[in-house]
Amino acid sequence: MFVALRDIRFARGRFALMGAVVTLITMLVAFLYGLTGGLAADASSAVARLPAASIVFGSPQGTALEVSFSNSSIGPAQLTAWQSAPGIGTVAPLGIAMSRLTSQDTAASVSVLGTGAALLPPLVSGRAPAEGQVAVGAKTARADRITVGSRVTVGAQTLTVSGITADRSYGHAASVWTTEPTWQRVSGATAPSALAVQPGSADTAALDRARNTRTVSRGGALAGIDGYSAEQSSLRMIQGFLFVVSALVVGAFFTVWTVQRGTDIAVLKAVGASSGYLVRDALAQALVLLLGGTLTGAAVGVAGGALLSGGGLPFALSGATVAVPVLAMVALGLAGAGLAVRRITSVDPLTALGASR
């Protein structure tokens, strides 16, 4: 680190500039991470936070089967077969549909989930819905001035609010919860969309084969939310691009820097520095730059994100989640710098001699 740190001090302008670039890229990555997380929660938290290990999708015998909440339905025979399977833990029918909630003079898009009380998010007040009742999320209740006992219209059905739950959402719309039969009336469906299952020791693969169903993990079921995969993968692609860009930028900087100090490297070798020493020194220099840049960027990203999510933007970023992009930036930056400083090993110390400088 002897030369590394003194280099940085001497060429502080150049290193500050490069550090600023790393900071800005990290900020961008942190924002994107927060946005990806926020949008993911906004699109999927009603499913992602269900207290069930697996989701079972189904379609009538002999028809094509896909992981999609909007194209799946569980017929009565399939439901019975799952409920009576030997070793099965719990099986709860789950209906999901998009609808509209009207209360007094306000209206909002909502996702309606029909299922048993066991799958309901934690209640803030009131109780789980019975037939003809609905539980709404705290945010919706606040925005629409809904309290326990209010009458609201969901779709074409007028329901009584039985309780206020913790906030969940599905397909970027706040979730409201009701029983499965009431859900059928609201949505016009004649069968639940899927099953939320604790498989226990049941042979789910055999059930899937026999009953034309498909069991996926709760996380895997998120792919069944319309637009979820496309949205997430496009955001992740942008993140990936940023990682590659940062590795290339850092690599390019250290390539130019290494070429620029080629004579210094030759002199250092001539006075007895080994290639290993010089490469370690250069990598330490890159590490200092990367840590400085990424930590600043991450701090700004988290702080800025907190402001944004206060303003209602779907944004979810914590110190722990931001560690992932920071570590990725540092690792990829080091890889880029590593490729760049490899050329140190091929510098011939003889070029130092007689060179006029």
Partner: protein, 237 residues
Amino acid sequence: MTTDEGSPPRVVVRLNGVRKEYGGDARALDGVSLEIRAGEAVAVMGPSGCGKSTLLNMVAGLDRPTSGTIEVRDQDLGKLNETGLALYRRHHIGMIFQFFNLIDDLSALDNVVLAAQLTGSSAKQARRRALELLDELGIADRKNMYPAALSGGERQRVAVARALMNRPALLLADEPTGALDSRSGEQVMDLLIDLNQIGQTLLIVTHDPHLATRCASRLIEFADGRIARESSLERTA
């Protein structure tokens, strides 16, 4: 260096039939054999292109002979790999160049400390010795200046301090006064003489007969990659 009265000082450098070819029929060194003993100050002179720098680079372990052997302190340089040669330079060789070759990004003091830093000696000790050396060389007040702000003579003195930092067995100098005005040149010569008087072994390549006669105890004259003449010198200063 010697223990027994009367026995000749030990051999520091021994070249045996050293040849160096750079492809084609160009032959930079053509069978050079010589010995340098501890405490000697050897000057190498000769026309441009006769192989003086090539010889120095070989002894420094910066270049390898096409054939022949070079031993420094009984160590055959041909048996060392790149890292071994770096280690050898670090511990046994001090070098001064015509154009100083200081690191621009380091202050005068750090340029000197650097040499000890490479050997892994303690930062505090290294700093103390570097300050001592700069003081002895009369440039202690320049310690925090960067090379770009120093005069040629000052730079060369920083380079000498760097070369001496690890107490090298052999100090190599390639045209050490070549880029200096005559006054700075004389100061560097004084320095070399003082160093030799306290036992430092020197190998100096120069075009300047004045430098050779002032500083050296032995003169080796090169021509076309061979030793043309060797003579003992009575120092004039």
